[in-house]
């Protein structure tokens, strides 16, 4: 089974050689592919503090692990933020089902490799970098708590 880094490389590879418009179209395709929030999480959303308050638009992230230290990354991103939604969908596809410790050591350069800075500008990509940091931190905490080994 491909590692989280290999999966990410494959997903990101799709962005190579695309022009700006095509990159945005691909990002929108990914956004459209993010599965709707499962019903159980819908209920939890109301009682758990999972909202990423820093985002203007509602974004909810769950970084979890089952008993086997496998990463489960569930997210809901408001439809008015397709860039974030597409980006989160790529992360979810790469992360889910991989060992928690492996996800925690994900490299930080995915945005650079996607070539999104030219398409989105500096300030926007900072926000996306922060999402990567948040996801990594969430899984690092699980790993440190002993569920990751």
């Amino acid at each position: 089974m491909a590692s989280v880094q290999e999966r990410l490389s494959e997903l990101i590879g799709e962005f190579a050689d695309l022009d700006a418009r095509e990159k945005l179209e691909l990002l929108v395709d990914f956004a459209n592919g993010l599965p709707p929030l499962p019903a159980e999480y819908e209920a939890r959303k109301a009682v758990e503090d999972r909202r990423v308050r820093e985002c203007q638009t509602p974004v909810f992230l769950w970084m979890e692990s089952d008993g086997t230290a496998t990463a489960t990354f569930v997210a809901e991103v408001a439809p008015e933020a397709p860039t974030v939604k597409g980006f989160v969908a790529i992360l979810a596809a790469a992360v889910n089902g991989r060992p928690v410790a492996e996800v925690a050591s994900l490299s930080d350069d995915m945005l650079d490799r996607m070539g999104l800075a030219d398409v989105l500008g500096i300030l926007r990509t900072r926000g996306l970098r922060a999402i990567v940091a948040r996801v990594k931190r969430g899984f690092a905490e699980l790993a440190a708590a002993g569920t990751g080994n």
Partner: protein
């Protein structure tokens, strides 16, 4: 759009729907999230992105006059085109683009009241087709500094105790928050506001459906409650001058303030300047805080949240 002082700059979704194919009109979308345009835009609308199209990628400034001319020409916009801006987030970025067009002297700029939200609520059609128009020719003017304030002018304005408006969130105004947990600080070293500035968070200008509030409600807010004067020169700012361009639009066109400038350097510049005065907390503070002495102890840096 009754009662507004300059109602001609605001058009309804009905008006836009009737002018989608009007060769005299160019519809321009500007968004916080530019993938929204990719996903679906008004039929025939072109996109102008604040970060990629309007800002210089080298210096911290807007694109220069010749780049602006090229941008317009490429989108089929001539000097006499009616340009109608709309977008997400209550038209905040649409107002930003409108402001840049005014900066370069474009005559006929308008905002579609309610932006993407109102268009969607009205269940009007979206298109994901690529849009292009034959090149136009465009001649811009030099920047109109009557609507743009630079740092030294803001400092002078502040020292003179003139009208200053901070349109950020109350937490940012009070200096409790400069950046978000887990988020990189986007650049300000100090938190707080420019002494003397009153705080009117920008969403207070709009209804839930994205349309602007009535002139009566806006007058109540700015003139009755805050005692702002239409004739007094006013400078508005936020973090990078985006939210404040919406407030600039409201004060200038809807309420008819005589002289409003947008300070686009905003907190990202002010919060980093050496020896500029800063006030913390919920009170505006006054020009008396504007000494050139070291900043007050209360302006010490907020502890970094991130590692």
């Amino acid at each position: 759009m009754p009662d507004y002082v300059h109602p001609e700059v605001l058009v309804s979704t009905d008006w836009v729907a009737e002018h989608l194919s009007d060769p005299q009109v160019r519809i321009v979308e500007s968004d916080e999230d530019r993938a929204l345009y990719t996903q679906g835009h008004l039929p025939g609308a072109v996109e102008i992105d604040w970060a990629v199209d309007l800002q210089c990628q080298v210096e911290r400034d807007y694109i220069d006059r010749s780049a602006f001319e090229k941008l317009c020409a490429e989108r089929g916009i001539s000097n006499d085109t009616t340009v109608v801006f709309y977008g997400d987030q209550n038209n905040w970025w649409a107002c930003y683009a409108f402001w840049v067009f005014k900066l370069y002297g474009h005559k006929d700029c308008r905002i579609m009241n309610g932006g993407r939200k109102r268009w969607d609520l009205d269940t009007r059609p979206w298109s994901s087709e690529r849009v292009s128009y034959p090149h136009a020719s465009y001649a811009a003017q030099d920047q109109d500094l009557a609507i743009r304030a630079l740092r030294d002018e803001v400092l002078k304005h502040q020292r003179a105790g003139k009208q200053l408006l901070d349109v950020r969130s109350p937490e940012e105004y009070r200096g409790e928050r400069m950046h978000m947990p887990d988020y990189p600080n986007e650049g300000a070293i100090r938190g707080g506001h420019i002494p003397g500035a009153v705080n009117v968070p920008w969403p207070m200008n709009c209804h839930d459906d994205g349309t602007f509030k009535s002139v009566k409600d806006l007058e109540k807010l700015y003139i009755k409650e805050l005692k702002m004067k239409r004739r007094s020169p006013t400078i508005a700012y936020c973090r990078i001058g985006e939210r404040s361009s919406l407030t600039w639009f409201v004060l200038t066109y809807l309420l008819g303030f005589g002289s409003v400038k947008n300070y686009d350097g905003s907190w990202l510049e002010w919060g980093n300047c050496v020896r500029v005065p800063i006030a913390k907390g919920g009170e505006p503070g006054g020009p008396s805080a504007a000494s050139a002495s070291p900043p007050p102890a209360s302006a010490s840096p907020t502890p970094a949240v991130h590692a």
